[in-house]
Each structure stands twice: as C-alpha cells, then as structure tokens.
Symmetry: C2
Subunit: 130 residues, 2 copies
C-alpha cells in the first residue's frame, strides 16, 4: 500500500490573531513545498479550528499515517501533557486516530527547539532594525 502522510500542525492559539496567522502560514508553506502531504492546522487555546476539528479535516484525504507536530518554540505543559492526552498517545508518543472509520497510526514530533536556523532568523530580525 502506498503511504500518504498527513501533518497535524498544532499551534498554541491566542486571543490576538497573530499566532493563528503565523501557524497557518507555516502550514501553508509546508503544503506548498510537499504537494503529496496533507497538512491541517489546529489550535490549543482561543483560536480555531480546534485540534479535534483539524483532525476531522483529514476525512476524505486518504491519509495512511499522521505526524502531529507542535509549532511551538519550546516544550511546555501543552506539549508534555495536554496534546498527548487529546491525541491518546502512549508513552512513546504514538497512537491511532480514527479517520473515515479506519485506524490511522499517529506519531508525535518535537517542537522547533534550539536550532541554529532559529538563531539565524533572530539575527535577521535584529538586522531589520539596526
């Protein structure tokens, strides 16, 4: 069977529009660059779609596996507790989602973290104002 990957991009969400705008645009960049991948974005707080609504958005896409990835700079309570609970993950960060009545395996990726790419981007933001 040919695998079809789904990416569930999870944002923090905010009462202000900025977090949703950034996370949605990042999800769009990924979808544009990886045309064979189905990307859906969902949020933990204050922004929509919720995680559950985002998961429902994989219906009809034919995804055979899903990677859930927190689009957060660093880990925190949402990442260590809330998201694993909502997704029903085991201690290895794996689980299953039911999409169109079928069990679809799910794995959980890490947040952005302290990558040198981020340091370069921070320095670029500095250069924009000095």
């Amino acid at each position: 069977m040919t695998e079809k990957l789904g990416i569930l991009a999870i944002g923090h969400g905010s009462k202000l529009p900025f977090n949703k705008e950034v996370v949605t645009k990042i999800a769009d960049y990924i979808a544009d660059k990886h045309a064979d991948v189905v990307v859906r974005a969902g949020f933990m707080e204050n922004s929509e779609p919720t995680l559950e609504e985002a998961i429902a958005g994989f219906s009809g896409t034919g995804v055979t596996k899903i990677a859930a990835v927190p689009v957060f700079l660093a880990s925190g309570v949402h990442i260590t507790k809330d998201i694993p609970q909502i997704l029903g993950l085991d201690e290895n960060g794996c689980g299953n989602l039911t999409i169109d009545g079928k069990e679809v395996p799910l794995c959980y990726a890490g947040p952005l973290g302290a990558d040198e790419l981020i340091a370069d981007l921070v320095y670029k933001r500095v250069e924009e104002v000095i």
Copy 2:
C-alpha cells in the same frame, strides 16, 4: 565612534525549564556566530534573569546601541504591550536604555514570524518521527 551592538533576546519564560533552555541556547548560538556582539537573554514570566536583570548585564560591555528581539514565534500581548512598556519604547519601537550612566539607543525587532525557515524546521521535526 565605533558602534558596539548589544542584543537583548527576550524569551517568554515558563514554570518548566524548556523555554529558558531554548532561548538561552539560541542566544548562545548568536553570540558564538557574532563575536563582536554582546548578547543577553531575559524573560517575561517565571524564568530568570528578568528583562531588567538582563539589561543590567550590559553594564561594563561598552555597547553603544541595543536591539531588543522577542524570541517568540508570533506576536501577542507581551510583544505588543508589556515589552514596549518595560523598555519605554515610543510608537516607532525606539527608545533609550541607561547603561553605566550613559543613554544607549534601543530599537525593537519583530518576533520570528512565518518564515520559510520555520516551515523547513517543522518538516524536519516531522521527518524525525515518520
């Protein structure tokens, strides 16, 4: 006069150690890559040093201008209200800090935002688990 740049890298902070670890490591990467720049990290909530303590850390370094940069994925209340208030910024995002009794001009950079670099890094995190 030769200019000497200071970068005030501002993190959200957290009760968990991860945000501080990531922001501090990013600040270290910048300092390693730009040896002529003085980098200090400070936090808005729950983590130390505070913003005020981080600013005090420029004492004795001879910095002649400072860029304050929020190491946040997206803008929010800390970035639009709290940080400008603490730093005494005008509506153009500029102000002055007093370092060793001298006025040092300060400008305010944007957060990471929806850059394609971030999208590539999110996809890298996905590839680590699929």
